[in-house]
Symmetry: C2
Subunit: 120 residues, 2 copies
DNA sequence: TCTGTTTGTCAATACTTGCGCACACATGTT
DNA sequence: AACATGTGTGCGCAAGTATTGACAAACAGA
């Protein structure tokens, strides 16, 4: 199976700790790795660093290096992959409001493309 | 950490095969386990059954027993948990879509509250 | 400059979890 | 009884996670 971007994103979101980290970063503009690690007593810096690496490889967060610090922030775009998948599955119950969103947002940017699927 | 629903949902969505199964069911109204298994040459019935069990426990699919067959369909509501999380992180770029989704699925149940988070 | 400290990651190791398969079992049909 | 449909169980293998120890990079102070 082609290791598409969705794989990395959904795998990254599968871990509760990573979702908590993502939420934590989302509450602020930027956070250093140390500030993030400080919020998790039960985790060492290595574990947090590893999680941040996975989030970064998935494109969910961006890192800005400033001296010996590394500031992490949320990247807005990659949620599209998740929304695209949900849209493709829940078309029936969502197509109405999809058109509503189209009217409100950009009409052409509504990817209903298929997600990966093993050919039989 | 409280094993909230989000855990089961995101874990279920983490596997590419399960996402493919979910997409496959979403393309049709209902599918039996055998029909689903027929679409995946590289998977036995046991594996597909196991995936369906996980999807069912996560509330992503519903099963209707008809004789010796079991018809699976997509349940529309549980996408709320995913959208709720995405909303909390990507408030800016998704609030329109999120409000639209919540309005169509569960109008009164609008949990934009915090996702689980380890207290420091 | 030269230590010493802080920040963050890398490497190697144990532990846990998850996936897929083979087999057996339960249920329903003919 | 014989067959078909699906699932539960146990096993082997792979992947992910957290920890310990060590390392590179950047700053502060004497």
């Amino acid at each position: 199976m082609a290791p598409s971007d969705s794989d990395a994103i959904f795998s990254a979101l599968a871990d509760p700790t990573r979702r908590a980290i993502l939420s934590l970063i989302g509450e602020h503009e930027e956070l250093t790795a140390g500030e993030i690690a400080a919020h998790f007593d039960s985790l060492g810096r290595t574990a947090v660093s590893s999680h941040l690496r996975i989030l970064r490889l998935a494109g969910l967060v961006a890192e800005r290096r400033d001296g010996r610090f590394r500031h992490y922030s949320v990247t807005p775009t990659p949620a599209d992959a998740v929304v695209a998948f949900l849209t493709s599955v829940y078309q029936n119950s969502l197509e109405q409001l999809a058109s509503a969103v189209q009217g409100a947002a950009t009409p052409e940017d509504v990817p209903v493309g298929r997600v990966e699927e093993r050919s039989a």
